[in-house]
Symmetry: C2
DNA sequence: AGAAGATACCTTGCTACCGAGGTATCAAAG
DNA sequence: CTTTGATACCTCGGTAGCAAGGTATCTTCT
């Protein structure tokens, strides 16, 4: 299910400008690759699948710099596909931080403040759900329940992160709604 | 490469106490499942592979509650495997937040402050590397370069997160070293 | 008594994913 | 003038991962 994120990133980057595969690969690497590197044995087959699905076209551009490049550009179907996926993202994009960040990177393309706000609200709902990393039966365990510094750090980092993001979400929603 | 995280979580949870598969599954779901649910078609085959590798044993316990359970317990090899993986985690555990959290959850089992500190230092090194989500050629782009609120949010959240974690890392390292 | 829901585990088939390896061009360094 | 390194893309084989479906027990609700 990496492809679902790579596909969104590909649609997102190509929405603005035509790119060849290698360039796309480097942009994706900057966006998500420091966390989780992607093999080109993953990306190139995906591009072929996307071409087969009618989302993009490839055009051979003989070697200007080095080896010949395949310049990629989105079809009308591809452009619509990006907007559809941004408007109603798979649940994974809401819960998984890496995918959520990928979505945020391109959400501006969805040129409709109400739809953008709806997506942010899904993330808000997710983050405000009660959750814990560890349970003692039905009881959620908190940082104070542990005497090891690493699990305490886990809670410290997680709560700080979500607090920052909640603040940003609420401010941005106020702007989008107002 | 999900299995590498599931395997660590399994070794980690079983290090303390014997569990049956379903219970283990629920603990893993609490730790990482809110972000990324795991299918039992993923977990059960992994447990079999781990058994085949000599990391754990299963013992059939006839139905006390419902269907008969397979109680899992680590072998000596399994206990050692946890310590080895904690001591020298794969790079993915250092860079990917989900995997890093999984590692933090069990790092206390590595009963050696110097080795624990060494792991934290790897994370510190990673977080202090210069990084950006977007590049304009060689130039890393910053929040101020974007006028869309979503990419700005991306930077806001990412920097706040890493600041909190860096503070915790430095404090904890000072404790471990001192 | 029957249905529903939780517990508990399993298999099968499709496909995505990754590592490993290969091909080729061009520039810069030695 | 050869090597190194970057650019640029590709294929193949093995395996992991997932959805979908199945089986069975026990409790609780109706």
């Amino acid at each position: 299910m990496i492809w679902i994120m790579l596909e969104l990133a590909t649609l997102g980057f190509l929405y603005d400008e035509r790119l060849h595969g290698y360039d796309l690969r480097k942009r994706i690497a900057a966006l998500t690759g420091h966390v989780r590197p992607i093999a080109d044995g993953t990306l190139y087959p995906l591009l072929k699948r996307m071409e087969a699905a009618g989302l993009l076209t490839r055009e051979l551009q003989p070697g200007q710099v080095a080896a010949p490049r395949h310049v990629l550009s989105l079809t009308a179907t591809g452009r619509q596909a990006l907007l559809d996926r941004l408007r109603e993202p798979d649940e994974l994009f809401v819960t998984d931080e890496n995918r959520w960040f990928t979505l945020l990177a391109f959400l501006r393309h969805l040129d409709d403040p109400a739809a953008q706000a709806a997506v942010l609200r899904r993330r808000l709902t997710f983050l405000t759900q009660p959750a814990s990393f560890f349970w003692d039966g039905d009881r959620p365990m908190r940082a104070a329940d542990f005497d090891d510094p690493f699990r305490q750090g886990l809670f410290t980092i997680a709560t700080a992160t979500s607090r920052t993001e909640l603040k940003w979400l609420r401010e941005t929603l106020a702007d989008l709604d107002g």
